[in-house]
């Protein structure tokens, strides 16, 4: 055949992982910590913030989930999983010590090299805080490699806010400028959480140097347009605005075709796209 290729190991065969702990983040989102069943595998698995894994559960199938942990804290793979259907229902039945399969990492992840030295504005909505946690922890663990860190997070209500205790703790930190909001019902948390859409937190985003800032946005589809419009007001260049897109995925390797948008594979060219890429896509969100 015409094309040179390097033999790869079995691309579609998951390795077995073991759940070591779990806790509920919201009424329908659960946090899972997993480690490879065979210990030596710890070292094989490297990844970038923003990448995802295909998670297999015996008897239910396979689905993509963002890695919520940071590669700076090696060995443990963490996921925040929303209960929404067949596989995720089953994942919610898992107990500590139970096994699941993982393969990956897949996707491009955040362009860390390009982000070094820059001011970073992160905007999360709802479950978007899951992939963005990987980036957040990565930056916090390498704080000196980045400029300002601004993090805006909006959820429906305080109960729907992922990692709420962690965020409350970070409100005290001088390592980042963190602002939280909920659509409705901040009673009891008035001092920590505002009320209103996430766009409303942009009033705290000031003195942005557009040439030296990169924005990362991840949330439900409806959120993108509004948030990106806010960011554009700061004159950021379109290729410095990064968005995470979600599509149905059956392989993660650019083969099954399910994640195609126009001419891009979300699993290969994404899930992190620049806004400039996205403008050219017909079928965005």
């Amino acid at each position: 055949m015409k094309y040179e290729y390097k033999k790869e190991p079995e691309l579609y065969t998951p390795i077995m992982m073991r759940i070591i702990s779990k806790r509920d983040l919201t009424p329908d989102v659960r946090f899972f910590q997993t480690v490879p069943k065979e210990e030596f595998k710890h070292l094989d698995l490297d990844y970038k913030p923003g990448q995802f894994m295909m998670l297999s559960l015996y008897g239910s199938g396979e689905a993509p989930f963002s890695i919520s942990s940071s590669p700076t804290r090696k060995g443990i793979f963490e996921f925040a999983i929303r209960k929404t259907g067949k596989i995720t229902n089953k994942i919610f039945e898992l107990k500590d010590g139970d096994q699941l399969g993982l393969r990956g990492p897949f996707g491009n992840g955040f362009p860390i090299e390009k982000m070094l030295g820059k001011d970073i504005v992160i905007v999360a909505g709802g479950l978007g805080a899951a992939p963005l946690r990987s980036l957040l922890l990565y930056i916090l663990d390498n704080r000196e490699l980045f400029g300002r860190l601004i993090y805006l997070y909006g959820a429906k209500n305080p109960q729907e806010m992922l990692y709420r205790p962690d965020f409350f703790e970070m409100l005290e930190s001088d390592q980042l400028e963190l602002h939280l909001t909920v659509d409705k019902g901040n009673e009891g948390f008035e001092d920590k959480i505002e009320e209103g859409m996430v766009t409303h937190l942009f009033k705290y985003v000031n003195d942005i140097d557009p040439k030296n800032t990169i924005a990362c946005v991840c949330g439900p589809p409806v959120m993108y347009k509004f948030v990106v419009n806010e960011i554009l007001k700061y004159n950021l260049e379109k290729h410095n605005i990064l968005v995470n897109l979600e599509r149905r995925m059956k392989c993660g390797t650019g083969k099954c075709g399910h994640c195609i948008i126009d001419y891009r594979y979300t699993c290969i060219d994404g899930p992190v796209f620049t806004y400039w890429d996205v403008i050219h896509m017909r079928e965005l969100i």
Binding site: Q99, G254, K255
Partner: protein
């Protein structure tokens, strides 16, 4: 490149030579069409004069329509060990060899698909040129002539075939069959060859003009005809199944009854099916049939260029013959060109 001659009187001996390398597969008639089938006896290896368009293209040998990709158990996921026979596929037309080159590139880009490669390494391609029929338009997609991608390639020049050797495997075959493949290729065969090329070139009657369609796809994205086609389309997925460069698949897990084991199946899928792009919360990015048709044609005529440098339509004409409601490359291009 080596070129040899095979005299037609020795044609019947070809089967035995090929059979030493693996199972021999070739197009055989089925109703008014052809299918690739295993040839068990040398008498059954027939070379057809007309253009042979099998119902399914050779992609079915490389990515089976439905197969087991993993054995599952509660504590282990394992790639099944399967014995894939070597298959010598005889009579593959140029457009299909181009499709194969596209598949090779597709399955080795970014990630190398081990299931594809396992099968690819077990396929030997014996190509053959023939005169086009009324549906073939590979002259318009630059896929009517092959330069690579085959092991041997046959051109019928009357009482003999010219045989191009395109790979080491092909070379092994002609060495083993040295009593039928002759190195004696006098320069005057060039005349016959040029005459044949010319005759073949002129024999194409389906002229679908693809020039400029990538830009037209962009400009006509919101044209009304897409909705008209959307109304007609049955979402049957036939067009994608028969297209030699369509590769989409779906994956599901199945458990054995009363046993702690199961399988993960991969099977051909179609972007024409409604649930193809459903994501969480029942949000479907391509709810309407018109949207799905646009995706397909964007992918065939335009998107692939972005990824791989050329469109993925090889002009085989299958979609023209297959679609029950006449939505195909020809009718779409007609509308695009208004």
């Amino acid at each position: 490149m080596r070129v040899l001659k095979l005299s037609k009187k020795d044609e019947k001996k070809l089967y035995d030579v090929l059979n030493k390398f693996g199972e021999v597969w070739a197009p055989v008639p089925k109703g008014s069409r052809y299918v690739y089938d295993k040839i068990e006896k040398k008498e059954d290896l027939v070379s057809y004069n007309e253009f042979v368009r099998t119902i399914l293209p050779i992609k079915k040998f490389l990515m089976p329509q439905d197969f087991n990709i993993l054995n599952l158990s509660p504590s282990k996921f394992e790639t099944p060990k399967v014995d894939i026979p070597t298959r010598v596929i005889v009579g593959v037309p140029p457009c299909e060899i181009h499709a194969l080159n596209i598949l090779d590139k597709f399955y080795t880009t970014d990630f190398v698909d081990n299931y594809y490669m396992e099968r690819r390494e077990k396929v030997i391609i014996i190509g053959k040129s023939s005169l086009p029929d009324e549906y073939l338009f590979s002259h318009k997609t630059n896929t009517s002539i092959v330069e690579e991608g085959y092991d041997l390639f046959f051109i019928d020049l009357g009482d003999y075939y010219l045989v191009w050797v395109g790979s080491e495997k092909g070379d092994d075959i002609v060495r083993l069959g040295s009593d039928i493949f002759s190195e004696d290729v006098p320069v005057d065969v060039a005349h016959d060859f040029v005459a044949y090329r010319e005759k073949r070139r002129k024999a194409f009657t389906k002229h679908i003009d693809l020039e400029g369609v990538t830009d037209l796809m962009e400009l006509m994205y919101d044209a009304d005809f897409w909705d008209e086609f959307g109304e007609k389309c049955l979402s049957c997925g036939q067009c994608t199944m028969v297209c030699p460069t369509c590769t989409c698949f779906n994956v599901i897990d199945e458990l054995e009854l009363n046993k702690d084991e199961g399988h993960r199946r991969r099977y051909w899928d179609s972007c024409m099916f409604k649930d193809y792009s459903l994501v969480a919360g029942q949000h479907n990015f391509r709810e309407s049939r018109a949207e799905r048709l646009k995706l397909w044609y964007t992918h065939k005529l335009k998107a692939f260029i972005g990824h791989f440098g050329s469109p993925s339509c090889v002009g085989c004409g299958r979609c023209i013959i297959t679609c029950p409601v006449e939505i195909n490359v020809e009718t779409v291009v007609e509308k695009l060109k208004g």
